[in-house]
Amino acid sequence: MVASSDLGGLGSREGPRVTYNWVLPSIAPMLLPWLAILGLLALKPNRCAGAWWIWLPLGCVMAFTLAPPDILPSGADFFLDVIAALAAGLAAVWLLANYLRRHHRFVTFLCLLSALAGFSLLGFVSRLDWSFTDFNFTDETLPAVIVLAVGVLASSAALILGGLICRGRYRPLRLYGWLLLLLAGSWLVVTAPIFVLQSIGSNGGIDWGEFFVPVLVVAVCHFATLLPFLILSSASPFYRERLKALLHAKPEAPPVMAPVPEASLKT
């Protein structure tokens, strides 16, 4: 590398050449979430071809985080890490849905929260730099962990509440709408106290516009992360049952087994 600037006679334009050996970070940690998903696919309830469709939504989200569009503002890199981690967690939840469902919704919520938090965290740490010679937490690590924690909580709460609202009958579009509203509500509820306290601390007035707009944008991004998995559940019978299990949706009524009228038999 060479630095250059016009020093107007105070020195040479070009500085001395500096050599830096860039060593690619080890890819082993980055494989962790993928190996974990592979391990979950080996579980007995997942041993069927339909389960492998989970790679599709996960791959879509990961591809987006690796090649984001240019419209994203600078400094949003940590947000991409959060999205990728959340996607890994959701994929795991989709594969573990049979194990996470419990009789009581609240217990299901706790199981869902634990699984989503655990696998999301695994997905997040796998994207950190783990070269032991030069590892350090960047300034963005803590905010990213906080946003991820709020995202996990919001996802779990939205899925359980969405299931409660749509418990009568599983209708995908209605569920999507509710999930979007619930995610936005969850984010607002969690972040509002922080914003209010911060405003009070600075002795200033509260500009709610500065609060609502970014929080709603984050909620929409969150929903966009969840949407591929929801679409998978709509398209794949295998994952539809998984989602319905998580939502505590009532099983569809079996076909009525009525006796065939005798008259018809006689004819």
Binding site: M1, V2, A3, S4, S5, D6, L7, G8, G9, L10, G11, S12, R13, E14, G15, P16, V18, Y20, W22, P25, L128, D129, S131, D134, N136, T138, S199, S202, N203, G204, G205, D207, E210
Partner: protein, 437 residues
């Protein structure tokens, strides 16, 4: 230009020739001088007042802020004010009394400044003469006041920044060389005070070049970000010291009486002192000005030779400016170990330059026995350092002086950012510009 020519003639007629005369003491008459550009900046604390003053101008629609501008701890120096941002008016109690209607000279109209946020009101009031009889002879100082208010986030916290535009100056001749000597009045704890102010000392050829006095970093937020770092490292002025060494002479500075009006003169007396000298060797080149602050003397060196004689003393800190052609650069001491050149200032939300004294090991001890070496100056070298941060490679540009230390080129606001080129096996694989800060 006309103003400058007039003042030049006046100053030339009454300049002081210090050490050519038989006496060791000479008197240099300093005259009041106003400049078009501000050179000293200070944040003025505001004591907000919710109850109206006993006598106020007629109320107008729009936001009104009232309070007292606190210049120092002495309450007698406080200046009551009423800021009608809607009407773009400022009313000042120039006589330090709470009657804002008794003086038509105390009303000023605003120039509205651009703000990136519509809820942030910034208004500039120019050509304000303030005097502080409680801590000075009462001679007025010309300044601009900039009021700001964040109506959304901090409606109860107006900000005021004072920018000084007047000082006292004269010409002194030493060893056949003309120097501009000036006194800048204090604008902080003892407003108006000359002894707590700053001393301007530079070759007379530079008398019409705008200068910067030393401003506390907190007061510079009104300046463009690229200028702030430069202003707090200015070397034209320094905190007033009664003992100054320049042009090979040690001088004691004093005056008998302070002026009470702008038409008065301040008779600055310079008395030559005998003091022990030691040798200082300067390793670098292109040094335009070197100001060394010692325990006894402040030393001002203009285009110093590689070896100079200065009073024996321990000097720290020191300010260094380099010049070659039209390019100037300054020694950027005070850079923290993190390499970050700025901190976030919470009150204003502005980024402010860091200014901390150089580490003790950078102090220079000059004695009579052996030469002291000061490794400052050019030539400068562009250097880039790379540190890995996560999956990113952070490149930092540094301008290293001949004797080490970091410098920054000062080319005004039109500075072209330094660039970098990355090559692999001789083939260019990347390039870009460094961002300031």
């Amino acid at each position: 230009m006309k103003f400058y020519l007039t003042s030049t003639l006046l100053v030339a007629l009454c300049s002081g020739n210090v050490f050519g005369a038989s006496s060791n003491t000479t008197t240099v008459p300093l005259e009041y001088q106003e400049t078009s550009n501000a050179f000293l900046f200070r944040n003025v604390p505001i004591e907000r007042r919710t109850v109206p003053f006993p006598k106020e101008p007629a109320p107008v629609s729009g936001r009104v802020v009232r309070g007292v501008l606190k210049f120092g701890d002495n309450p007698s120096n406080g200046i009551p004010f009423l800021w009608q941002s809607g009407a773009k008016k400022l009313f000042l109690g120039l006589n330090h009394k709470q009657d804002l209607t008794d003086d038509s000279a105390g009303m000023f109209s605003a120039r509205v400044m651009w703000s990136s946020e519509p809820t942030f009101i910034i208004q500039m009031f120019t050509n304000i003469h303030l005097s502080f009889p409680a801590s000075s002879g009462g001679v007025p100082m010309l300044m601009d006041l900039q009021f700001a208010l964040d109506t959304a986030r901090r409606p109860g916290q107006p900000l005021c920044n004072a920018a000084l535009r007047s000082y006292w100056q004269g010409k002194v001749t030493v060893e056949g060389h003309d120097w501009q000597a000036g006194l800048v009045q204090n604008l902080s704890d003892d407003p108006g005070s000359f002894r707590q102010g700053q001393l301007l000392l530079r070759p007379w050829e530079e008398w019409n070049r705008p200068f910067s006095a030393f401003s506390e970093p907190g007061g510079t937020y009104v300046l463009p970000w690229t200028e702030q770092n430069c202003v707090v490292r200015a070397s034209d002025t320094f905190a007033f010291s009664p003992r100054v060494f320049f042009e090979g002479h040690a001088c004691l500075l004093d005056w008998s009486a302070e002026p009470r009006g702008r038409e008065d003169k301040l008779a600055l007396q310079l008395t030559q002192q005998q003091t022990a000298l030691g040798e200082l060797r300067i390793t670098g080149s292109f040094i335009q000005r070197l100001v060394l602050t010692g325990e006894r003397y402040v030393v001002v060196l203009d285009h110093p030779a590689a070896s100079v004689k200065v009073p024996t003393d321990r000097y720290q800190p020191y300010r260094v400016w380099l010049k070659q052609g039209r390019t100037r650069a300054y020694f950027n001491y005070g850079l923290p170990q993190t390499g970050k050149a700025n901190v976030l200032e919470e009150v204003t939300g502005a980024k402010l330059p860091v200014l901390s004294p150089p580490p003790p090991e950078q102090a220079i001890a000059v004695d009579e026995q052996r030469p002291a070496v000061l490794a400052v100056g050019g030539p400068l070298t562009n250097s880039v350092s790379a540190t890995r941060q996560g999956r990113e490679l952070i490149l930092r540009h540094r301008l290293i002086g001949g004797g080490g230390g970091e410098y920054r080129v000062w080319q005004g606001t039109n500075r072209i950012a330094p660039q970098f080129t990355v090559r692999k096996s001789g083939k260019k694989i990347g390039a870009g510009q460094f961002e300031f800060g």
